[in-house]
Each structure stands twice: as C-alpha cells, then as structure tokens.
C-alpha cells in the first residue's frame, strides 16, 4: 500500500483525480437517491403554493436573517411536538426554495406559527419585541412598517420559482404584483381577483393594520401567518394516530 501511495504522491494529476473520486462517493450515495425515491416527500392533495405577498414576506424573512435564530423544523421528539405542534413533514417545505429549517433556536421554532397570534400581536412584536415579551432579546424591526413593499417585479419572482418547480400558473405570474395589493386590502376588487386565483381560504387582511399602504410589514406578517398552514396533512396525521389509540 505504502509503495502504491509513494507512486501516487509523485503524480499530481493522478492525485487530483483520486481526491475527486474519494470525496464524491459520500455525497452521491446520500443525496442522489433523495431525488428519485418516492417516499422522500409525501404526496398530499391540499398542498398550496405561497401567494406573491407571502413570497415577498418570505424574502424579507431571509433578508433579515431570521433563520439564524428561528428554526422551522419540529423534530420527532415528544417535547417538541407538545411545545410546537405536530412534527414537520417533508412535503411541508416542498415549495421552499431554499428551505429555512434553520440550525439554532435562540428564539422558538416557527414551523407552526401561523394563526397562533393575531396580526396586531405580530406587528407590535416586530416593532418592539420587548413591548409584548419583556425579556426578549430579539431585534426591533420597526423599519418594516416604514418601508413600502417593492412589489412591481413579483411576476419575475414567481416565474423564477416556476422554473425551479413551484406550480404557478401563467395567470398567477401575470397578476403577481396586483395580487400583493389584493391580499392586503380586504373588500376591494383586487382582493376578489386574488381570492379567485388562490382560493377562498387564503388570508386577505390588512396585515399591518393599514389597508391604505402596502408595507414590508404586510408581507412579513402574511408569511408568518401561513407558516405550517400550506397543508393540513401534519395535523391530520397527528389526530389519526391519537384517534387510533
């Protein structure tokens, strides 16, 4: 063996190929099957896509680095399920490009945050976390309320997401910018059009409390309120398993 290695050490090109070969095996064995094995991601019928406003909110979540302190992945552990809700399923992040499972909980997990608190609570909390949770160490995000949402290019965002596999229709892409207004302005014409495209169950609210202005706060709160609610399958699975006892 050592003789062979002594030979390899004399040949830089052979050494390069040896490194590439040896280093590639692990990744190929572990990653490639995830794309082909059917069981990797559950198939569910009620899985819905993010609306344009929620996509914009998700992008703000990414921009502000929220994932550095908040996970979105409830593990299959008893205490986590009791604290946060049913454990996360693969399908729930099927349309998450990129995934935001996170790696650290300086704050709590957010996988099932949607509709746990009111919009008002979120707005107050984001403006100054310590107003609602006195010993919180979360930063203030007051500027979200001041910034208007940049939404005129949302069609391009949805088109890019379709390229990587999210099933947006042509109609959704064409009306993406309009739909961000619709979702945040109840009882308006754009709101009706939005509901027609994304379903009656979608949230249409003035998320930041001001229907007259579309802010980054609107988008982020809309996103936070949909976390864990793109499909009901995790709750169904949880109630089936307790019902069977």
């Amino acid at each position: 063996m050592l003789d062979k290695h002594a030979k390899l050490e004399r040949n830089a090109i052979a050494f390069v190929f040896a490194i590439i070969f040896v280093a590639s095996i692990g990744g190929i064995v572990e990653i490639a099957p995830l794309f082909t094995i059917d069981e990797t991601v559950e198939e569910v019928e009620d899985m819905r896509v993010y609306t344009p406003l929620e996509v914009a909110g998700r992008n703000i979540y990414i921009r502000e680095g929220c994932y550095a302190c908040h996970s979105q992945m409830i593990r299959t552990l008893q205490d986590e399920v009791e604290r946060y809700g049913p454990y996360s399923l693969a399908v729930e992040s099927q349309y998450d490009h990129p995934m935001l499972w996170g790696s650290k909980r300086t704050g709590p997990d957010l996988a099932r945050l949607g509709e746990k608190y009111s919009d008002d609570w979120h707005v107050a909390h984001l403006i100054n976390p310590r107003d609602v949770v006195p010993s919180s160490v979360m930063p203030s995000y007051a500027w979200l309320q001041r910034n208007s949402l940049k939404n005129e290019d949302m069609d391009l965002h949805l088109a890019a997401l379709r390229k990587v596999g999210v099933p947006y229709t042509d109609e959704m892409i064409e009306n993406a910018a309009q739909d961000t207004y619709g979702q945040a302005r109840p009882d308006s014409e754009p709101a009706d059009a939005f509901l027609e495209r994304y379903g009656e169950d979608s949230n249409v609210r003035a998320f930041d409390g001001d229907p007259g202005r579309l802010t980054e706060m609107d988008a982020l709160v809309a996103y936070l309120q949909i976390l864990g609610r793109l499909t009901d399958v995790a709750h169904q699975q949880a109630s089936n398993s307790t019902g069977g006892e």
């Binding site: 990414i62 502000e64 998450d96 203030s140 500027w143």
Partner: protein
C-alpha cells in the same frame, strides 16, 4: 509590488483591471433598480482603483531578470496582513452581535445593524476573510518551499488574492444591504458565486502548474491537504449554490433544490465547508509550520496518509448529522451518524501526529509562544473533533441540536483550532517573509497567546453551560406531565452565559488586535544587512533565460 511585474505583465494587469471595471459598470447599469447596483459600483470602483495602482507603477524599470530564481512572496505578504485585518474586523462584529444578545438595544434603528444581518458578516468575515486569506497566503508559501519552485505565474496569484477579497467584500456588504441566499456559510448570491468560481479555477490552475514545476519527486503532505481544500470546496460551492436568478438585473435568486433535498445539500455543503475549508486547509498549514518551528520531522508518514484519505473520504458522508429527527429519511441520518463516529479515527491520527511530533521538544513548547499556539491548536483539534463525533450520535444530538452547545463546539474548532494554528503559522512565517531575525515583540506574542486561550476557554465553557441548560429545560416535564418551562424561561437563564461569552469573545478580539500590531511592526523593523537564510532556493534544471 508592481515593480516585481514585467512591463508585459503590467499591461495584462491593466487589461484585467479594465475588464473588472467594465464588468462592474455593466452590473451596475443592469442592476441600477436593485441592490445589485451597489455591487456593480463596488466592482467598478475596485477595478478603477487597481488600474490606478498599476498605471502609477507602469513605467517603473523592469524587474531584475533573475527574479525567477527566487520565490515569489509578495502575494503571501499581502495575504497575511489582509487576513489579520479581516480577523480584527470580523471578531469585532462577532463580539458586537454577542453583546446584542445581552443588550438587544445596543444597535441602530436600521436594517444593516440588526443581529440577523450582522451575524453572517461575522461568520463570513472570519471563515472566508480571515481563514481564506490565511490559507491562500500560506498555501503559496508552502507550495513553493516544498516544491522548490517559484509560483507558476506572476499575475495569477494577485488575481486569486484580490479576486477572493472582492468576493468577501461583496459578501459582507451584501448582507448589510439585505442580499443573502440564506444558506449558512454560502450566503452570497449567484453573481458573487460565479465570480468566486472564476477566482477558484485560477487558484487551482496556479497550484497544479506550480506543482508541475516541482523539483522534489514527492508531493509533500501539506500540499495534499491544500489540494483537497481547493478541489472539494469547488465541488461543494458549485453544487450547493445552484440557483435561478430572478433576472440578470436582480441580486435575488431561488435555489434549484427545495425542502428536504435542499436541506441535505446545504448540510452536505455546510459540514464539508468545516471539513475542507476549516480542517484540510489548516492541516496543510500544520503539517508544514509545526515541524519547521519545532525543528523536528513529522512523527509518522503512515499516520498522515491514513488521516488524509480518511478525512477526504469520511467527511463527505457526515453532513446529515445536522438533520437528526427531521423530515430527512432515517437511513440518511443513520449513515451520517455512523460516518461521523468513524471520523474520529483520522482526525485523531492528525492530532496525534502533531502532538507526537512535539514529543521531545516540550521545552520549546514551554518557552516559545509561537509553537505553543500550534500545540494548543492540535489539542483543540483533537478535542473538537471528538466532541463533533459525540454530538453526531442521534440521542446526544436530540439534546444539543438547536442549542448554544453547537455554537460552543464551532468556536472550540474555530478559535481553538483554526485561529490558533493560523497565529502559530503567521508568527513563524512573518520573520521569514520579511527577512527579519524574529518577530517585533515576543512579549506581545505571549500576551496574544494568553488572551486567545483565555478568551476561547471562557467562550466555550459559557456555551457548553448555556447549551446544556437550554436543552435540558426544553425537554423537562413537570410532575403533572406538562412541559415544565416556557421558551422564554429558558432564554432568561441564558443571560449570564451570554454575558460571559461576549467577554470571552472580547478577549479574543483584543488578542487579534495585538497580533496585527505585532506583525505590522515586524514589517517596519529595519532590514538586516545580513538577513538570515531561511530556505533552500528554488532549483532550476535548465537555464530560465529563454
């Protein structure tokens, strides 16, 4: 610097600067409505500034024709200084965000200064800014000495060094502007990623061409590690950053993979960034500078072979231990755990090899803070690789994951191993590079050593405590069968540990400032008339005059 380039090379440099400026302008113009425009402006400005520097030295006399009989160390010199500057900047930001977790109001009412944006500035600054520049600088130095050949290019080392730093600048300014792909340790967006690929291909080409010139039949161990670092980081970087940009005028992109596949790809990347950036490359440093400083050969050639191939093969399987108990299929988790445990063997082979090399030179370790840096680095390397294997065991991970224990573990590796080996290497290297007899002040090295060590120990102990307390509180049940603590209860318990961590981080930062000062003052010391001869010169088989 410019005086070392021929007139032709200066012309080529000017063309490259002009291309960079044009690229920046193009990016700035198409991205003018987006944050992308800022990065276009940054590149255009950098291109112009470099162009100005080259033009100013353009009519300097041509360099001495027998420059090619000497090693080319200018890029290494710049790399060492820049690396230390990144260290000071990025540990400052790190300590700032550490204080933010104690005093969340210690910030401005603006996006750029919030924890979420500054945290990747810290991580990128230390890993890529400090670590990456240190690796580039030392790899150039080691490569030439162990090959007894001059770098195979006079311009391409600068392309690598300057290009890499522009990438780092785009990364950290991008986060503050709100540009991030959110993948941990791979946050820069698509255009910066492509930019880095160009730089990296240049780096590899330079490395392999210099190796082809070598006058030693065998490629030395340190170069195996540097090669693995260059090659595998390229593979990881390209695969994990596959994405579709919103448009050519947008900084934002959407990753090609989603959900579980994206998570696996990300942690395959994330863990192997630790392996091939923060381990392989720095082991390359260790295998050269430690035996040189100790004046003893590496203890075992056989152990270094086992260790090298073990690390190169096994690490690539280990990433899935970041995803225990998640929606990732169970078999992948189990594979990741298994290989992570086996990983302790090659890791300890290298740590052991380093310590056994020092066996017999303990009086030098005692007296020489530079060698002591490298000794402590090997100890921390052994400790944190053992801890890593331990934390990868699924039930242990159920407690440690998502807590500060992970943060403590990473810093045991990053401060205790990566930074310490770099300081040891730099203090060995700097007098050689500038032809000085010794560093400016050995007492300042001593001070740096104790600040770095105490800072690291305080940091790591604080995070072990907070992490385990957190993990235990989250899973504690009261007698009535309900969860005993709310999340905020666990956070309230963290405050003293977060305070201690920020103090430890400050000590480490202070050590870095002293290190930079000491290195800077060494470069300012008067040159010796009869400088010590540190290295055998490069060898030429044929006359290089042609």
């Amino acid at each position: 610097m410019i005086s070392q380039l021929t007139r032709d090379e200066r012309s080529s440099a000017m063309i490259l600067c002009a291309l960079l400026t044009l690229f920046g302008l193009a990016l700035g113009i198409v991205g003018r409505d987006d944050v992308l425009g800022w990065h276009g402006a940054l590149l255009a400005f950098a291109g112009l500034a470099l162009l100005f520097v080259v033009m100013r030295g353009y009519y300097d006399p041509n360099p001495d024709p027998d420059r090619i009989t000497k090693y080319y160390d200018d890029p290494t010199k710049v790399g060492v200084i820049v690396s230390m500057m990144w260290l000071v900047f990025a540990t400052f930001v790190g300590d700032w965000v550490a204080w933010l977790l104690v005093y969340p109001e210690l910030t401005f009412d603006a996006g750029w200064s919030s924890f979420g944006r500054l945290r990747p500035v810290h991580t990128t600054g230390v890993i890529f800014g400090f670590g990456g520049n240190a690796l580039i600088a030392t790899s150039f130095h080691v490569l030439q000495r162990t090959s007894r050949a001059r770098l195979a290019g006079n311009l391409s080392p600068w392309v690598v060094l300057i290009g890499f730093n522009l990438f780092c600048l785009m990364a950290v300014t991008g986060y503050m502007l709100g540009i991030t792909a959110s993948k941990e340790y791979a946050e820069p967006e698509w255009y910066a990623d492509i930019f880095l690929v160009v730089v990296w291909v240049t780096y590899f080409a330079l490395y392999i061409r210099t190796l082809a010139r070598r006058q030693e039949p065998h490629i030395y161990v340190a170069n195996w590690y540097f090669l693995a670092f260059i090659l595998v980081v390229a593979i990881l970087h390209i695969v994990n950053n596959l994405a579709v940009p919103v448009s050519l005028a947008h900084a934002k992109s959407y990753s090609l993979f989603s959900g579980v596949q994206d998570a696996m790809t990300q942690w395959w990347y994330g863990h192997n960034a630790v392996a091939f950036f923060l381990t392989s490359g720095f082991l390359g440093m260790l295998y050269y500078y430690l035996p040189r400083r100790a004046g003893r050969p590496i203890f075992s050639y056989r152990m270094s072979i086992i260790s090298f191939w073990g690390i190169t093969f096994l690490y690539m399987w280990a990433g899935s231990h970041h995803l225990h108990y998640t929606a990732l299929p169970h078999w992948v988790q189990t594979l990741g755990m298994t290989f992570s445990i086996v990983l302790v063997v090659p890791s300890w082979a290298s740590a052991g090899n380093a310590l056994l090399t020092l066996n017999g030179a303990w009086e030098k370790v005692r007296d020489d803070a530079t060698l002591r840096f490298m000794f402590v680095a090997a100890v921390f390397y052994g400790l944190s690789t053992f801890e890593g294997s331990f934390m990868a065991i699924r039930p242990v991970n159920s407690l440690s994951h998502y807590t500060d224990w992970t943060v403590g573990h990473v810093h045991a590796g990053a401060l205790g191993w990566v930074a310490m080996i770099t300081f040891g290497a730099f203090y060995t290297l700097v007098p050689m590079l500038w032809n000085r007899e010794r560093m400016y002040s050995s007492r300042l090295i001593e001070a740096h050593f104790w600040l770095a060590l105490s800072g690291t120990v305080i940091y790591v102990f604080a995070m072990w405590n907070s992490g385990i307390v957190q993990g235990l509180m989250w899973r504690a049940y009261a007698e009535d069968g309900t969860l005993a603590y709310s999340f905020i209860d666990s956070l309230n318990e963290m405050i003293p540990y977060y305070f201690a961590r920020a103090v430890g981080g400050f000590l480490f930062f202070l050590g870095g400032v002293i290190g930079l000062y000491n290195i800077w003052m060494t470069t300012r010391m008067p040159a010796l008339e009869d400088p010590p001869v540190y290295d055998l010169p490069p060898v030429f088989e044929t006359e290089p005059a042609e």
